[in-house]
Amino acid sequence: MTLAVPTASAAVTTAAGSHGFLSPTGVEIAFLLVGIVTFGAAIVTVTTKQLVHAALWLVVALGGLAVEYLLLTAEFIAWVQVLIYVGSVVVLLLFGLMLTRAPIGRSPDADSPNRWAALAVAVASAAALVWVVVDAFRTTWIDLDRAADSAGAGGGSTAVTGSILFRHWVLPFEALSVLLLAALVGAIVLSRKKNAEPSAPAGVSAGAGAGAGAQEGTR
């Protein structure tokens, strides 16, 4: 979504007098509500004592993010978010949980003494992200109605995202794909090394390879 903003100049203006920062249009209200739901689901994900429930709340949080992308007219990013995170990553997570242990009810050991360190890291990274985004898009204003009207030329449409990605951001894109490829090869090497010792279950390595493969295929 952020990548697509520079080209969609037709639909982007600055938040001058015409727009207040919190003029409550329907989309903005929906955006806020979905944001609250997403945030709540994320909080429950990390605080719940039931392992599988955490994974399912993660689905809600990731789905909420996809809806936020949709509301910002970034359709392509939204569906890729659902496809990769909800469809592959969470399934892989559930697979791992079921394969190792998936108790119904509370797991008393689902707590970590590192809680405060984790909280500090989370707050720090959230602050960094918010600061970067606010600094980059301080007064940029996306006219959602106009972006959605000119179908196909909207700020977040597949065509715009694709041309931006492959014209302006090809190098980072390729660097990322090489990184993912390295991770894929690394995963295969690691799983084969384990197999040389007494046989590890074949399903695990196949599943892990599948998850990485799915990401590689859809990147």
Partner: protein, 322 residues
Amino acid sequence: MNDALDVALRLVVVFVAFLVLPLVVGQTEHKVMAHMQGRLGPMYAGGFHGWAQLVADGVKFAQKEDVVPADADRRVFQLAPAVALLPYLLVLLAIPVGPGDGAVGAVVDAGIFFVLAVMGVGVLGSLMAGWASANKFSLLGGLRTAAQLLAYELPMLLAAASVAMAAGTVSLPGIVDAFEWWWLPWQIVGALVFFVAGLAELQRPPFDMPVADSEIIFGAYTEYTGLRFALFLLAEYAGIVVLCGLTTVLFLGGWHGPWGADGLGWVWTLLKTAVLAFVVIWLRVSYPRLREDQLQKFSWILLVPLALAQIALTGIVKVAIN
């Protein structure tokens, strides 16, 4: 026409199709399987060749007690059938049946990604059911479902990516619009990979390892009764409709036909979808179930390389044409 009325009308039409088409496929399966096995199949319900058998089944399911096992995770257990069924309704919205904007529930810009993403969500329903039932057979079924999804999602995506490359767009109506007859031999490998991977994602025979009734008693659905079980069955048949419709739209040219594409395009779409649904049923009658390791091998050693080869071929031809 009034905008709101237009949207409401489309939603109603898609919803009716969602309720009727899976039942038609289910009834066809009863009859086709029976005749292939030298039986008659249902003959009494409704009078004429047992046409109302599934309606009677529905009434029976609705009357049964809805049991939740004592040790189960109640809420997840009860939510699972809805999670399994609803995605197919959403996918059906995006499948175009005829030319123009009038013949599709909703025009989705990134249509291929939408349908594949939402279909993947449906599998979460089986996983939730498998875990929440507190039953070993269910858990095994859930595990097999997850392993199968991870193995077959990739070739399905790659095959779909090939046809998107050929058409130069990821919107479903756009792909059908761009279709030419010679795409059929050009994309045939991709079509086969897509269809087979889709079958595996629906857990239809010969890929029904996760629900193998003779080994793990219907896997994730072991503990379900009454309406919730019926919803899972409905999800399976809605999945057949969706998969056949998608294969038709992506690889077989949708509403294109030798004649009558202007007024009767939707007939071609339905006809092709019906033929594919017949093939799905045929496969169920004729092939034995694959073993789990054969399943994984089949995807990683055969389907993924085939899909990659198809993508390479698509790229080469595309560059050569331009």
